[in-house]
Amino acid sequence: MNAVYALLAVAALICAGILAGASTATGALLGIAVPYAACAILLGGICARIWRWAATPVPFRIPTTCGQQKSLSWIKAATFDNPSTGAGAAMRVALEVLLFRSLFRNTRSKIVEGKASFGESKYLWLGALGFHWSLLLILLRHVRLLVEPVPAFVLVLQRVDGFFQVGHPVVYASDVILLAALSYLLLRRMREPLVRYISLFTDYFALFLLLGIAVSGVLMRHAARVDVAAVKQFALGLATFHPVISQALSPVFMVHLLLVSTLAAYFPFSKLMHMGGVFLSPTRNLANNNRGERHVNPWNYPVKTHTYQEWEEEFREKIITAGLPLEVEDVRKTTAD
């Protein structure tokens, strides 16, 4: 049901986009007010969330170690999976962010006739990596709509992305990978019993929203073609804070814009914040040098302990019987002396 509700929510947004795009008044609202508001929420929200995390102390140094520690000089340590320095930890986070190191370890447990096996399983890693990298590439390609003249790196990216020269206009590899990866992630969420069981409305909502954005984007390039010059003029207007709404903007574009704005506004309140959070995870971004360098807990406070003196007092007779040395000599003996 969560999937159905999420699909309905995104469908409602698409309808709103089509309807609003049809009239000039609502078109201006959708084309100007909504993107600005969404951008403000996105930037403000991300900053607020990250500030909240960053301002919360890390009382203990708790890296999850995934390899040999650095201890004896003749034992080879796992430099990145069990970093002993800040630089090593930075590399570990970089590997996590750029290559999804931990997800790469994924295994799948199977029990057949009472025997368990844990084989490698790389599909989730591949799907996730394909999705995130192609999304980044697509975002960077969009820079051509927001800046004039178009920066050289964007032109290079475009050329690389369209390397295979298939179709006219050229089909971008990133578009294909993004759609394939999103479809895989969605199907996996709906069809794998365990993943379906843990999935919330919000999980499907994010996926449908992204799919809606991707499909509307591809449609504008390959099916319901838009006037790119008009789109660029509009986008430049937004980017330079001189927004102009043009009649030439198609309903598909309005839908695309509304879905992107929704995603942007939703982003800071959602699990999508993992983008910022991954950098701050204490099990990944700290060096495992616990015994070498002292970590300070800013809110460390004194606690009630049981001191040696109290212990000796309580067990005095037994300590004497056992012939163990006392810290405070026997009171009776001292008095007798």
């Binding site: 019993p193 993943v195 991954v278």
Partner: protein
Amino acid sequence: MSEKLLQIEEKSPQGDWRDTRPELRKGVICYSALPKNLNYLGLPNPREWQPFDADWKLPPNWKQIILDGMKERLDKYRSFRLFMDICVRCGACADKCHFYIGSGDPKNMPVLRAELIRSIYRRYFTLTGRIFGALAGGRELTEDVIKEWFYYFYQCTECRRCSVYCPYGIDTAEITMIGRELLNLIGCNINWVLEPAANCFRTGNHLGIQPHGFKDSLDFAAEELQEITGVPIEVPINRKGAEILFIMPSADYFGTPHYYTLLGYLMIFKEIGLDYTVSAFASEGGNFGLFSSHELMKRLNAKVYDEAKRLGVKWIIGGECGHMWRVLHQYMDTMNGPADFLEVPVSPITGTRFDHAKSTKMLHIAEFTADLLHHGKLKLDPSRNDNWKVTYHDSCNPARAMGLLEEPRYIIRKSCNHFYEMPENTIREQTFCCGSGSGLGTDENLEMRMRGGFPRANAVKYVKEKHGVNVLACMCAIDKATLPPLLEYWVPGVEVAGIHELLGNALVMQGETRTTDLRGEPLPAQEVIPTVGDGGAEVAHA
């Protein structure tokens, strides 16, 4: 336990997990903590109750206590706040938990264990959750939720295996620790954690052994060693001015097969002439506070540095234990340091300076011994372990909260001729828990322990069938207590031994007269060439 083996199977869960309730039945839960233990430790809401009772006698304002407790911890632990916020429910952790694999209960998937508390976080602490409620993944905090928390947070051994696979490093151990802290605020705790903790606070060790009992145990071990090796051995206790303080888990001097490991330590210390002492006060390295709250952990851990200071030692060595090393490695220095009254550990035998421990000034015995072996300071005859075909179980905490992977393997390879690794995805950082860690190793909970230990036992079974492995070496006191019944259940015929037991078996001491290993069994070399006489006849019989 029924005679028939538990059926381990994978099921496809249906419906919404928020609509299901766990069945609190005997065999899969631990009993409540006795009021006397809560009173002794000064913990809230001591009372007579049991988890299978309908009425848990919670304080009237329990809901406020929990929500305030969550608020406080969200502001104190970045880990907690972050792990509440960033999970994308990708499911990579789902089948990584030994309790999930062994029970098939979907709420044992690490992601759902965390969602138990995350759903409350969303409902009461996030904007979307407060507005959209269930649609945003929130739910109301009710007494049923508390019961569910109790069931599942005491069905997690804080082993951190899921954290290895999580793309954001979300650590269920952290969530379970906070979950248990919250439950402790309203007096929902288990006796198997709090009785050892109360004992430890009072006597210095979990088992409640008092000074004379401590001395008797160690004297007994020394006498037995003299019988086995012919070398006179004395164990110094509470001796001021020793160079090194040695701290071990109390099971080492009171449990079997832990005891053989103790014999191994004592042999090495004697052989190299180490200037050391043990302490009847700091007579426990383990720390059941870890399984209750950060505060209790700190209270129990304080005696380590206090005693080192009182005795005036230079540095500290710690014995074979799992969670003990989680506390010593990741918490002690922060909680009870700085240990500026101690010196950077330097091996008096090899001169090696252990810079990686220069702040805590505490070394793991395996690091110390591996260094001795590397410098050829111990004479070993690995054929004395030829009766053992060995595999090695990485204990969760030394593996995933420290990275102590090669040192024990180095010691085993030097001490034994027959060593076989279990399958790759079940060892090192991917090791499977014994299923009884974090204070769950009680017989009340036996069915769940057998289920949770199934993946570990299954991997042992694999090497038993493939290589004829007959001993599982490990480096954790809880392992040594709980793996024997686990293996007896799933893989009969495999024993459990400590690393320093195997090393002790192989150690050739100066002036020794050895005929048996540390378990009193004849040395295998003699089995090959039986000597004439009673000894030989006995060997043939064995």
